[in-house]
């Protein structure tokens, strides 16, 4: 994770068998972009992600996200009714979410496989994904194989 050049950060790990649960406390003078990125990454371990909307911080369940799109180098999380800005970059989200049913569909899009209704192949290798809310997203030829392979894997597992 990239942290601003001017940011000095100490990391303390206090290990004790008497602690019943893991607790992370961040002490800072103000919540800036770097802090949000750190919290967002930590939240991913709880299947949640941080999203910003109208200067408010929201905790979003990963299951509710349909897709993530990058616009002007900013990543936006699309749920059924809302759009949130993520403090993380698209490539960071891709890295963190690839074990959680999220697949890269194009240079600017990551799709939640569990929010897909179907996939329509097209001439030239491209694919159209129809989401559960009937929204259409495109999978470019570069990433189409990832989707095909995922579907093949599922097909094999369903037949076992």
């Amino acid at each position: 994770m990239k942290v601003g050049k001017e940011t000095k950060m100490k990391i303390h790990i206090d290990q004790d068998q008497h602690y019943l649960e893991t607790e992370i406390v961040i002490r800072c003078s103000q919540i800036d972009e770097d802090i949000l990125r750190i919290v967002s990454t930590l939240r991913l371990y709880q299947e949640k992600i941080i999203g910003l909307k109208a200067k408010e911080i929201h905790l979003i369940d990963l299951k509710t996200i349909f897709y993530i799109e990058s616009v002007d180098k900013k990543a936006f999380l699309y749920t059924k009714d809302d759009v949130y800005e993520s403090p993380l970059k698209l490539y960071e989200l891709e890295e963190q979410l690839k074990q959680r049913e999220f697949l890269r569909a194009s240079k600017s899009t990551i799709i939640n496989f569990l929010k897909m209704k179907t996939v329509i192949p097209e001439l030239g290798g491209r694919m159209i994904v129809i989401m559960d809310n009937n929204e259409k997203k495109y999978v470019t030829r570069k990433y189409a194989n990832i989707f095909k392979e995922k579907i093949k894997q599922i097909e094999r597992s369903l037949h076992v």
Binding site: K117, T118, V119, P121, G124, I154, E155
Partner: protein, 147 residues
């Protein structure tokens, strides 16, 4: 520069594929007509056609370009543009007796038939795939929900 090189590479692959397929089709037609030779002029005519088709294919269907028109509109425009170009190549290289109107009518009919068969074939294949994928994804989601 990177985008340009990518486009050139894509066009080159497409052109090579079309050339290979067109030669194979040409050989089959020759075998049906019981002719065992292919002239250099015929090979050149196929090369010309392959270059033109691959350029049109790039313009209308390539992923490296952004297309504002729908797929169907692009397909129709592609077909309308390709027919006169193909006719010109056929005329220049004497693919059939060019003075006979019946030969031209047959040429257009074959062109339309091939286009319709290919389009319908792909459409049917894509529809079947769509239904199959929908079933697989639906089943997978049910299993995930249950677990």
């Amino acid at each position: 520069m990177k985008k340009y090189l990518k486009s050139v590479l894509e066009w080159k692959i497409c052109c090579s594929l079309i050339y290979t397929v067109s030669i194979l089709i040409f050989i089959i037609i020759k075998m049906i007509l019981r002719k065992n030779d292919i002239s250099i002029v015929e090979l050149l005519s196929l090369l010309c056609m392959s270059i033109v088709v691959s350029i049109l294919q790039y313009l209308f269907f390539s992923e490296t370009r952004t297309h504002k028109m729908t797929y169907m509109k692009r397909l129709v425009l592609f077909a309308l543009l390709f027919l006169p170009i193909l006719g010109f190549i056929a005329y220049q290289f004497h693919w059939f007796p060019i003075e006979k109107i019946s030969a031209w009518i047959l040429f257009i009919v074959i062109y339309v038939i091939i286009l319709v068969i290919m389009t319908l074939g792909f459409e049917i294949y894509f529809r079947i795939s769509e239904k199959k994928y929908e079933g697989i994804i639906g089943q997978y989601k049910k299993e995930k929900d249950a677990s």
